[in-house]
Symmetry: C2
Subunit: 348 residues, 2 copies
């Protein structure tokens, strides 16, 4: 491949717009165009940011031009001129879009976690299996919750022998932009039957892991919170061992509650509003004070910013599929420094 | 003791008003009076229900009579004419009130879980330690979350050998009547440091238990939800074994999500609004579909109606302290049938 990797971003919602911005910050890839289905505020934003706007089909062009929004062409026209498509359309749409993508065999395909695993050759999480995705034709970046779990699991797994993982996911009910979703006043089991699908999704990347997850949805929009319990097959792991590993870990940041006064998601986001575009926190946030070791068990709370946590993984997936960077560490270093990810401690 | 037990209820808020109503439903006890500090809607409600209204001190009488609310006397005057005082004042007030109560040595004292354990001779949970409280001078009915955990733990502990309990508490942020508390949009660690105090509180009743708890607060008012993981020291416990025990258990009701469509707290409360005064659910609600057994571990979700779950335990505590009913089963049977608690399945 000569020059920069040419990328199409299909879908310009929560994930798509963030991935498009992140690609722009890289020196080895470029956004050729973004694809929008509806001529709404998202389309206007894309143009304002200087992206070329494409639409799914010829029929959609009129719909846009009636409202005065200028369109550069259709998805298929865009696919002719790119090396990679990042599908960031709503869950389940990616599988349908795949039928179009496969008509362009030179285009590598990246899907999001809302798709079923069989949409792609590999389910992807940079810290766990970057090399597995090298030069593959397609990858599925696992969902926000799964990415959060896998960052912790693969980081710990590099240092300690894990025998069991048990996680309870306290999920935000809707993203800030979603105006119709609830609940407003309920804690809903999601699903009522255990385990939740997140355990199965983690296993698409680390199939040998003994993991059970359970999830509830609660009335908040900002971030998910996970309680994770990890059992080690060897004793003697101390809290200090864990903290040392987490401090040095990529894409994990520790928040010191006692020092900063940060005890929840609203305060994390308030800090990010001052420091980050769109108050994004692509790092997995581990609450340091919550890290608790008892016998062979680690327990902790972590927070996941559902809108942005998968953005670094999408960038890495572009490099892995195209093979432009065979070294996971080099790809992640470039991604993390361009996106300005924190090291060690949040705000300290 | 001849005739009915005469009870004073000090505090007519969330717990006090429910305990007062519950006492009225018993044939072996009576409410002599309830004590209110402020001449507000709660005081008017108490009068409307026909309770004699008392105030903390002589000074408070004017405050009430200015607003036209008739007062029967002071707390001390009330204590002269009762056998038991149920303290349902805000957390921490009970310890201060105890100085007054102890000037009336014939009066048995019942406190709520918002007080520190040393406020009373015994921390109380009917299913676990009714007999320990027999004829004691004082008891502390443990908090709503602790009552929920203990109902499950003591029920299971009667049938299986428990080696560890790990629970994650997803707590409602405020009661429906509380107009100033938050958060509105955050998941807060409460506290950030593990374990949360609930584990310690469980141990005030079952000191030998290996238990770690963690808690978050979320923006909802209706019920708490717990994820509870129980490890057994012997293998071979099946899901069917667990369900059989829970079906037959007192004060625990199973909700079948797949059959009823009930997947969260709003739906539980909606049913209770049709069936129960104040939509109270004094039973511990276990989501049957969530009951999951893997190797030596049980995991499940349960819901706790924070406003009413401790009411049956307060009634039993009155019988235990006065010694009027030495048999825990007989006391609980009377309480449960008068309060109309469900058996086996919620709504089925």
């Amino acid at each position: 491949m000569v020059g920069k990797i040419r990328v199409a971003v299909n879908g310009y919602g929560t994930i798509g717009k963030r991935v498009a911005d992140a690609i722009r910050l890289q020196d080895d890839m470029d956004v050729v165009g973004v694809v929008k289905k509806s001529p709404d505020y998202g389309a206007l934003l894309a143009l304002k940011k200087g992206f070329n706007l494409y639409v799914p089909t010829q029929d959609d062009i009129d719909k846009f031009e009636i409202t005065g929004i200028q369109v550069s062409g259709t998805l298929e026209e865009l696919l002719e001129n790119v090396d990679v498509v990042v599908d960031a359309t709503p869950g389940g749409m990616g599988a349908k879009n795949k039928q179009i993508y496969t008509r362009f065999p030179h285009v590598k395909q990246i899907f999001q976690g809302g798709e079923k695993p069989d949409v792609a050759e590999v389910s992807f999480s940079s810290l766990c299996n970057y090399k597995e995705a090298l030069n593959k034709a397609s990858a599925r970046v696992v969902s926000c919750n799964t990415t959060g779990l896998l960052r912790l699991i693969c980081t710990l797994g590099n240092h300690f022998k894990i025998s069991r993982v048990r996680a309870v996911l306290i999920r935000r009910a809707a993203d800030p932009r979603e105006v119709k979703k609830g609940p407003i006043n309920s804690i809903n089991l999601n699903p009522p039957r255990l385990p939740s699908h997140h355990a199965l999704d983690v296993k698409t990347v680390v199939p040998w892991l003994d993991i059970v997850t359970a999830a509830v949805v609660v009335p908040t929009t900002l971030m998910h919170v996970h309680h994770v319990a990890v059992r080690f097959s060897e004793g003697g792991v101390t809290r200090e061992d864990i903290l040392r590993v987490l401090e040095d870990a990529r894409r994990i940041v520790l928040v010191k509650s006692a020092v900063t006064g940060i005890k929840g998601t609203a305060q994390l986001i308030e800090v990010a509003r001052d420091l980050r575009p769109r108050n994004d926190i692509p790092e997995l946030v581990v609450f340091e004070d919550s890290v608790h070791v008892e016998k062979d068990e680690l327990m902790l709370f972590q927070a996941v910013h559902q809108e942005s946590i998968v953005v670094p993984e999408n960038i890495d997936a572009i490099r892995a599929l195209t093979g432009i960077e065979p070294d996971p560490e080099k790809s992640m270093s470039k991604t993390d420094s361009t996106l300005g990810l924190s090291k060690k401690f949040f705000l300290l």
